[in-house]
Amino acid sequence: MEREALLLWLAVGVYVAAGSLAIVGVVMGKRPERTVLGLLVLGLALHGLSIGLRWERLGHGPYLTMFEILSSNIWSLLFIFSLAYWRFRPIRPIAAVVVPLVFIMMGWMLLLNRGPGHLPATYNTIWLAIHILFGKVFLGTVLVAVGMAGVILLRRAGVGVQKLSRLPDDRRLDDLAYRFMALGFIFETLMLIAGAIWAQNAWGRYWSWDPLETWSFITWVVLAFALHLRATLKPAPRRGAVLILTVFVLAFLTFFGVPFISKVPHQGAI
């Protein structure tokens, strides 16, 4: 257990170093991108090892307590972001927008009780793992889109225009962001389908409009609306960016807020 905690603290330290370096790089006009990517990969390895040790010790995946859910989401979000960071060089400065969001989650995680949770019998199914996996990919792809939407909004607000000028123009950023949103839509839909299969097996109904299901569905509707609006009316990048942020806020509140008010068996995080 001490090794788990040590590895987690090391990972957080490395993440903070990577994120800080990325932000400083944007502010100072430097490009320490290889170092940032290397630190992200190192942090992911340490963090993944910590999660793996806990999984081995408790006999279940990181999806019961809020600590486990935040920890695994930080890992998955940074994993997907690192893939985007590695694959799409021109958009690497979006790290300055994305990393502070993940820092907030890290701070929250470190304040939480790390004790084990109880694994209900209804959670002992592969469909839960599939449901969670799709959910993490969905949130990760939307986070990458949020990075680009944030840059668009910052530039439109006149904040850091010069520092962010080496990124592609707003129209290209908007186009790329909506590719990630489209991926997110597919994975959110798959998350809902896998969740319905799990719910049917676990509680004898595939959908019951409990708070978590309702807000997941609202997020899905808003995301579908955003994609359809883009295909139909081609709104300006700033409007598109606002819609991306709206989807992310809804998704974030659904993942990490609704579990606190839900009183039904399908509680998500807690």
Binding site: N124, L176, F185, F225, A231, L233, K234
Partner: protein, 366 residues
């Protein structure tokens, strides 16, 4: 005005946007007002279906893009299946005592108006259950033993619970957290009629650990009995793993008009209308009953929709590098020469006031 102008208006992708808003409002309305989502979503879903159908018929983009056509056809199928599901589904629950046979009677029934009732043909017998508890009285695995006859009269025995329901004739019987103790009696009426055996289901255990009492009425009489189970041992241990079981040390107390009886199995009470014999303590299990023949088809429609959408996006994204110039969003707007309506410019619009005004104008609302 040509005959298909209303169809083109109905097919408008701008109408789809309005319907998304209506749909979201319906979901939120049901969530906050506790209205049935079936009714708050029925109108938006019907309009969605009409909009989709009209769009598939009139919008040429669906003839250019087969994956997009498949996606929208799958969405249409999904809406139709949801409607059929709501017309034919059934949900309810039943509590069965150990040794009792289910013969089609359920309570708390919710069903669609076209549900093909054949629940009375599905017969099975409850043969007891085990439930493990982790420290802290945290419920773990449920294993309920059931016995049933198939359509050829062959006997089957099985263990169900948690993710494994009993499925008979499309009806799915799921174990629930709702279970408890069932004192069993036999009533011998003085009138000479046949003895009647039955049990009463005390409140769910351990949820109502300190409220194991119930008032009930003797069959064929107006005699009300108050019955309480006092357990003199610890069934579930909060400090170590344990198992749900019938207590061995307990008292069954029956009260009738100021008289108090403490019964052991085999004891009886002579009452004005007959003799009540206490046979012993058993358990009861609460089942949730669910029927919806559309579920595999819903799943298939969802998967076809997602695969076709992935195919559509994959094709578009592969056609142009991810950071190339240009905009790869599909222009699904009908062209001016196709609709007779002037297509809007592709310039960015003010949102949302001009968008709403534009939508209303296109739909003929001023």
């Amino acid at each position: 005005m040509t005959i298909d102008t209303p169809l083109r208006k109905l097919a408008s992708p701008r109408l789809t946007l309005v319907l998304f808003v209506l749909f979201g409002a319906g979901v939120l309305g049901a969530h906050f007002s506790k209205l049935s989502p079936t009714w708050t979503l029925a109108v938006p879903l019907l309009l969605f279906a009409l909009n989709l159908l009209a769009a598939i018929v009139v919008n040429p983009v669906f003839r250019r893009r087969i994956p997009l056509l498949v996606f929208h056809l799958a969405l249409l199928a999904l809406i139709v299946l949801v409607a059929v599901s709501r017309l034919t589904y059934l949900r309810g629950h039943v509590e069965l005592t150990d040794g009792e046979t289910f013969r089609g009677r359920i309570s708390g029934v919710e069903s669609g108006p076209l549900h093909p009732w054949h629940l009375d043909r599905e017969v099975f017998t409850q043969e007891g259950f085990t439930i493990n508890y982790d420290p802290g009285i945290q419920r773990d695995r449920t294993r309920s033993r059931v016995e049933w006859l198939d359509s050829r009269g062959r006997r089957h025995v099985g263990v169900i619970g948690d993710q494994h329901p009993l499925v008979l004739g499309g009806y799915r019987f799921y174990t629930t957290y709702n279970k408890g103790f069932a004192p069993t009696f036999t009533w011998y009426p003085v009138s000479g009629g046949p003895p009647r055996r039955g049990s009463i289901h005390l409140p769910s255990y351990p949820e109502n650990e300190y409220r194991q009492a119930l008032q009930w009425t003797l069959p064929g009489t107006h005699v009300a009995l108050w019955t309480e189970l006092q357990i003199d041992e610890r069934i579930l241990n909060p400090k170590r793993p344990s198992q749900f079981r019938v207590p061995t040390h307990y008292r069954l107390i029956v009260r009738l008009k100021g008289a108090r009886y403490v019964l052991q199995p085999g004891d009886h009470i002579d009452l004005p209308g007959g003799r009540l014999v206490y046979d012993g303590l058993r358990t009861w299990m609460g089942y949730q009953v669910f029927y919806d023949w559309t579920t595999p088809w819903l799943l298939a429609a969802c998967l076809v929709a997602m695969l076709s959408l992935a195919w559509h996006y994959g094709g578009r994204f592969a056609a142009r590098p991810w950071l190339a110039d240009g905009d790869d969003s599909e222009d699904i707007r009908p062209k001016s020469d196709e609709t007779g309506i002037k297509a809007p410019s592709s310039h960015p619009r003010k949102f949302p006031s001009r968008l709403i005004f534009s939508i209303c104008t296109r739909l003929g609302f001023r």
